[in-house]
Assembly symmetry: C2
Homo-oligomer: 422 residues x 2
Amino acid sequence: MTARPESPYPMLPVPEALEVVLAQAHPLPAQTVPLAQALGHILAADVVAREPLPPFPASVKDGYAVVAADGPGDYPVVGEVTAGRVADFRLSPGTVAYITTGAPLPPGADAVVMVEETERLPTDDGTPRVRIHARVKPGDDVRPVGVDVAAGQQVLAAGEYIGPAEVGLLATAGVTQVPVYPRPRVAVLSTGDELVEPDQPLGPGQIRDSNRAMLLAAVAANGGIPVDLGIAGDSQEALEAGVQRGLAEADILLSSGGVSMGELDLIKPLLEHAGTVHFGRIHMKPGKPLTFATAQVAGRKKLIFGLPGNPVSSLVTFYLMAVPAMRQMAGWPNPHLPRVQAHLAQPLPLDAHRPEYHRATLRWEPSLNQGRGGFLATSTGSQASSRLLSMRTANALLELPQRAGRLEAGDVVTALLIGPLG
Amino acid sequence: MTARPESPYPMLPVPEALEVVLAQAHPLPAQTVPLAQALGHILAADVVAREPLPPFPASVKDGYAVVAADGPGDYPVVGEVTAGRVADFRLSPGTVAYITTGAPLPPGADAVVMVEETERLPTDDGTPRVRIHARVKPGDDVRPVGVDVAAGQQVLAAGEYIGPAEVGLLATAGVTQVPVYPRPRVAVLSTGDELVEPDQPLGPGQIRDSNRAMLLAAVAANGGIPVDLGIAGDSQEALEAGVQRGLAEADILLSSGGVSMGELDLIKPLLEHAGTVHFGRIHMKPGKPLTFATAQVAGRKKLIFGLPGNPVSSLVTFYLMAVPAMRQMAGWPNPHLPRVQAHLAQPLPLDAHRPEYHRATLRWEPSLNQGRGGFLATSTGSQASSRLLSMRTANALLELPQRAGRLEAGDVVTALLIGPLG
């Protein structure tokens, strides 16, 4: 044991650290996935409609296909067209045909009169007859060919997020094998001899490993594919095995614990050996000891985040640094967490030495901004970095400036959204 | 074929229809799921910590465990405690012990001096010695027992949403079998002889079934478990088989198509036969012909939504009615879509006859509200109910009032959030 110097890593401001991370995170090679698995991905190529929609002039209503020029009057019903069928006849002036919503207009017809504007008449010769009450114009209650989508029209562009509506548009265009950027695989490794699995009884000096379950959930909640690497004890061999497995199986490796200044901080030397350490400390509260490294494995660049062991520091730095990296690898054109402004519900103390990411619950309050509405931010209470309860119900990180004093209730701060709005 | 009367179903206003739906949607019976599957569920029971956290007085830093009253000076290092180990010695006044972050304080010690405030001294008798520079108080750099979580403290309450932090809290409390409300299973059935699977070539009079893929994705995106019932043609038998399978396998059945006034509208009579139809029309644009029914199947109440065939009407009514029902069944205390206010980016025409749910993309604009920020709503363009492109990139439904005229750019409207903020 020898006395150690200050950490050799400079303390990077958060925006600068994020730039360093994003400069290393590149979209993963595009893949093709079946339509049923496309939800939540970013589209990797433009999608163009091959056929127009509708592909035929389609009735908007149930009623009668007519020649508009005929006008109101009594007419023989010479046929019937239902959706999915095509007429085997041509409509002549002076005749009408029964038609259902979505059915192709028979040739010769140019409008539809909805059934509510008609009346069936008694018939004696077997040919049904109908009284048309309404006067219609050509095109009335008909969707022309291509009115919703023209043939050759771009219906989706590369870089767009595939939500439910976009899945519908892909189906409409007949694209059932979808070019997308894959979700990044994110492996999570816990380190520390004091950790036991959550379902095990606690021995002396032991605590449960909460970070791994939490980070695996956070990966899934943010569009990644979680890979569980288990707990590595504080031995060089166990750690190295975990890191190597993570680098082989995943695009991003998250380790938590083992990154402060202790003698058992084996992660940093290991990362220096395995690849390039880009930074080792970050100027923020909580979460100062965050290490970011990259390694080339089988021709692919892997990202490694050595997250702090404190659960809050670990999750906050995950959101600030790893989520934007995950999004960039998943092809998001804007990888940043959504940033909004919020009115403080109570005074908050500031930290004179570090900018703070204060956990809060945002809800929309219609009476703010003279009735035009705004977000009200309620603190989750004590912000100790070991107190995971400070993340309970939190859906935002308030960006508090580094200075002495405090902010007052009603003051407006910026907030990064990390969870759904309630 | 006979002339038919106006629809027998009264036209319900949206808020009233939603009340009717929510009165029929009850939380599903609670289940226990493994911790790794708890994400995204609502907790069905309070969670209380059995042990305090930390369970022992823990060092916050790497450094030396000391007796604070000793003060600065040179001391022998009589032992070492690392995380996961417990001291096999008691610290006497006038001695110190090396300690790492997270390790239990040895008995006799009452504070920690961080390593940066110390200096290793040369030794000649084999006992390491250290110079302590800092004066500390009892408790300095020590996390007392239970400071983060007290034994017996409630760490989570029934009704709370389980996000990543809550997964971490469950792990901390050792709860690896988690009582939750299950996600509802939601079956989707398309109806219509004109529909073909998206990967099939279009024959005359045919269109691709986009609604089913879209609704299955929307179910998944909103926390449900999708069940694909395929396409039923417009025959009573095919429809009935689809409905029966949906009611047997799912908690909610969504059918799309076949609910307007046509002769082939077989869904409503079928639902009247299978259960109770609560309403058949809804006073809104788009999506007027929405049918809502319930049926008792094997002692459980199933919900049935007969969605319109137009893709936009179908998806909009899904968000307005089915998502709150799904959330209520999944145990959400507040099942409603988040409602915010937004400033219009452009003028919008109003409908004099129906309130309209106008599709728009919301983004945060920091300059609004005199620099305190607000949402800016950009219309997705033509709002024809057959034009699914009007849902592309939309993350909100603007609630436009029923009246003549138009709204101007800058006017503030309420908006329901249906997708992630960009």
